[in-house]
């Protein structure tokens, strides 16, 4: 069970839109913006408010890549693997990140909850390939060496 404040927040967000089923996606997007993940309890709660089944809400939330039921690290690193980045060797960037952060295959968040690594299909910054973003801040023309330096810098801030 989540703290009451979570439900209050959900109510506040629902009030912004309305309780028609069509508002489900914008509402859970705002919830995710607020908490940086989508607490499953809130999805159930919102489904009730919008008068749709929990199964329906779950099917929508799991269909879209952007929704995450798991908590994310302090720094969310998104590595672009769009065509332009891929051609300019984005795979080596991802490999180095996994190595630096000691992440196993299939694991996205470090145990200390500091880093989450994700790939995205295109950030639309193809002119700077390969790119990655740290909490939406763009880092251009990355190399494995720059990745190591970046991680060290971010660790140093904590």
């Amino acid at each position: 069970m989540l703290e009451q404040s979570y439900y209050d927040k959900a109510d506040e967000i629902i009030a912004r839109y309305g309780t028609e089923p069509r508002w489900l996606i914008p509402i859970i997007q705002d919830v995710q913006t607020e908490y940086r993940y989508l607490p499953p309890e809130l999805l159930t709660y919102i489904a009730g408010k919008l008068n749709i089944t929990e199964a329906k809400a779950y099917s929508v939330a799991t269909f879209y890549e952007n929704f995450s039921f798991e908590k994310k690290g302090k720094y969310v690193i998104k590595v672009c693997d769009g065509t332009a980045c891929h051609v300019r060797k984005s795979t080596t960037i991802l490999d180095r990140l996994y190595k630096e952060l000691n992440l196993k295959k299939g694991q996205h968040t470090t145990e200390d909850m500091l880093f989450t690594v994700e790939t995205v299909s295109c950030l639309g910054a193809c002119g700077l390939a390969p790119v990655l973003t740290v909490n939406d801040e763009v880092h251009a023309a990355m190399t494995p060496e720059k990745v190591t330096a970046l991680i060290q810098e971010l660790r140093g801030e904590n």
Binding site: E20, P21, R22, W23, L24, I25, P26, Q29, S59, V60, F63, Y64, E65, N66, F67, D81, G82, T83, A84, H86, V87, R88, V120, S121, C122, L123, G124, A125, C126, G127, L128, A129, V131, D136, V138, H139, A140, P144
Partner: protein, 635 residues
């Protein structure tokens, strides 16, 4: 609030006058590219210099950051003529870019410490800072318009991007904004507007190239009176960013196009669906909509005509398939974004099962100029079957990465060599992938074909949304095919079996091939599967999912066979097919590689050359990336 035609004309004249009174305009690009290069700091510095000198100068900051976030210039500067922000210039490779009007000087790769020199030399004396000018083949170009990258382009849709402040509607009004809407509302009947677009033969810029006017006509004649206008801003093709640049750099143009569409088909509401990865485009659009509402160009009784139109924004949530019409409307309705069987088509039953006009960003951005200049003018640009221009995002192994716009019918050679400045690092041109995961490849023999919707289709490719990824001799085409199939497979919504299962099987085969486990029979199966998916998949994305594979299989069959028969990848891209060797001349015997090797495949004695046991090697590359002497090579 503009209440009638005269008010709008008056507002436009005032905005124009205000713009003409500015002595200088300093336009600093803050597109995603230039911003990452530090253009925000340049903006701040320029503001300070202008303020300290107490000059009547205009600094504009390009699409990238909303004013507030990055600090507005001090109000005294704003009052003295204004310090503003503009849109993406498109020459992303050379960023950060600074343009200075009225000279039209374009400075490239500008740093914060260059600002004083720019200020002292150009603003105070009117002379160019030579070292910041673009140089090619020994020639320095002062004016932006003379640089080959720009000179060879025809920028109509992107005309204002980088030249006006996208966050102030007055800038758009000053250059004649909303005059097409004025013409449509006051001088034309809705059916005249439909006919003008039909006559212009404007074709959808989102991929299929379907006639826009025909769509509008069909919606306009539906018996159902509640109709919608929807804009597809879900630019999901990796390697494409033209729609983002329009939404960020010139949002009012697209909004004007949508209002005209609404008027033409009798719709009262419109939706813009923007992918969540473009937060800036979303905030720019929101701002532009609020400005248009405040001015009375959106809302009830627009300019006293009795016509009402409202616009809403929906954020995507990360599903590529939502670029497909029926999936996009399902997503706006709050459902899983899955395509449905057609008919009924979107024009009959689209959003909320009502007749719907669905076009993409670039298509709507074409509408105002067609209405202003007429269909005949429009048909004079481009080719007979595909009039107008097309914006392309040119990326990959090319010197001038960026956003370009050329008339339909331009050849690939002109794009790659004249505008794009040739292949990066002097490498050999190998192929260009056009149209992303739904497109195909073009090779050297296609360099002189005039590119338009029909010629590309004939070559087994498609224009898609206009992403052009240039590949050089170091790119493995089998790996590229695997890359796209991996993408499509991930993004397949799973509704129809050909796409859900077929792409999975194709991906498995491609993974086998790049891992050296492929067989010749598999190449035939790949072909057969690809054709079957193309014939039977439910939606446009499924139907084109196999195209990258079929296209490379046709053009680069020798490379596929090399992977399968010789177990070799000529580019060294396919890790499993590499052989790592230590160069005994360069190896100093430091033993670092042996310690790094996870499987103990490297042995030797300290201070004499080490060797790799190929039978144990798992080709992970750990030895090579850490060798301090660069002694480990891939064969």
């Amino acid at each position: 609030m503009l209440k009638n035609r005269q008010d709008l004309i008056e507002a436009r004249n005032q905005a124009k006058l205000a713009m003409e009174q500015e002595k200088f305009r300093i336009l600093i690009c803050a597109g995603t590219g230039c911003l990452a290069g530090g253009s925000a700091k340049i903006y701040d510095k320029m503001c300070r210099l202008v303020k300290d000198a107490g000059l009547d100068v205009h600094v504009e900051f390009g699409a990238g950051v909303a004013h507030g976030e990055n600090g507005e210039c001090p109000s005294e500067v704003a009052n003295a003529g204004g310090v503003k922000k503009s849109g993406c210039h498109g020459f992303c490779e050379m960023g950060p870019l600074v343009r200075i009007e009225p000279y039209n000087f374009l400075y490239i790769k500008v740093k914060e410490e260059d600002c004083e020199e720019i200020f002292n030399t150009t603003i105070l004396k009117g002379e160019p800072v030579e070292r910041l000018l673009y140089e090619m083949d020994g020639v320095k170009y002062k004016a932006q318009e003379e640089i080959p990258f720009y000179a060879k382009q025809t920028r109509l849709v992107l005309k204002n991007c980088g030249h006006i402040d996208s966050e102030h509607m007055n800038e758009y009004l000053a250059i004649g904004g909303y005059s097409a809407l004025e013409k449509a509302l006051f001088d034309m009947k809705p059916e005249d507007v439909v006919n003008e677009i039909l006559e212009s033969n404007l074709r959808g810029r989102g991929g299929g190239g379907f006639q826009t006017g025909y769509k509008w006509k069909q919606v306009a004649r539906q018996p159902e009176k509640i109709r919608y206008v929807v804009c597809n801003g879900d630019e999901g093709d990796p390697g494409a960013f033209m729609d983002r640049s329009i939404m960020e750099g010139d949002p009012h143009k697209m909004i004007e196009g949508m209002i005209i569409a609404g008027y033409a088909v009798g719709a009262q509401e419109g939706y813009i669906y923007v992918r969540a990865e473009y937060p800036l485009a979303i905030s720019r659009l929101k701002l532009a909509i609020a400005q248009a509402e405040e001015a009375g160009l959106l809302g009830d009784d627009i300019l006293g005509t009795g016509y009402s139109f409202r616009l809403h924004i929906n954020r995507g949530a990360g599903a590529f398939v939502c670029g497909e019409g029926s999936a996009l409307t399902a997503s706006i309705e709050g459902e899983r974004g899955m395509p449905r069987t057609k008919p009924p088509r979107t024009v009959e039953q689209g959003l909320f099962a009502k007749p719907t006009v669905l076009n993409n960003v670039e298509t709507y951005a074409n509408v105002p100029m067609i209405i202003s200049n007429g269909a005949e003018w429009y048909k004079g640009i481009g080719t007979e079957g595909s009039p107008g221009t097309k914006a392309f995002a040119v990326t990959g192994s090319i010197n001038n990465t960026g956003l370009i716009e050329v008339p339909m019918g331009t050849t690939l050679r002109e794009i790659v060599y004249e505008i794009g400045g040739g292949i990066k690092n002097g490498k050999e041109f190998k192929a260009v992938q056009i149209g992303g995961p739904s497109g195909g490849c073009l090779i050297g023999t296609h360099l002189d074909v005039a590119l338009d919707f029909d010629s590309l289709k004939k070559m087994g490719a498609m224009i898609g949304s206009g992403g052009l990824v240039i590949m050089d001799e170091d790119t493995c085409m089998v790996e590229v095919a695997r890359f796209f199939m991996n993408f499509t497979q991930n993004e397949s919504c799973g509704k129809c079996i050909p796409c859900r299962e077929g792409t999975k099987r194709m991906l498995e085969i491609l993974e086998d091939i790049v891992a050296g486990r492929g067989t010749l029979e598999q190449l035939d199966i790949l072909q057969e599967l690809g054709e079957a998916i193309t014939d039977t998949a439910l939606c446009g994305l499924g139907k084109s999912a196999a195209l990258p594979v079929l296209s490379t299989l046709k053009l680069f069959r020798d490379e596929y066979e090399e992977h399968v028969v010789d177990k070799k990848c000529r580019t060294g891209n396919c890790q499993a097919l590499r052989t790592y060797k230590i160069d005994p001349e360069k190896c100093k015997g430091c033993s670092k590689c042996a310690r790094n090797c996870p499987v103990g495949a490297i042995s030797g004695e300290i201070r004499s050359p080490y060797t790799i046991d190929a039978s144990k090697c798992i080709k992970c590359g750990a030895c090579q990336s850490d060798c301090p002497f660069g002694a480990i090579n891939v064969e």
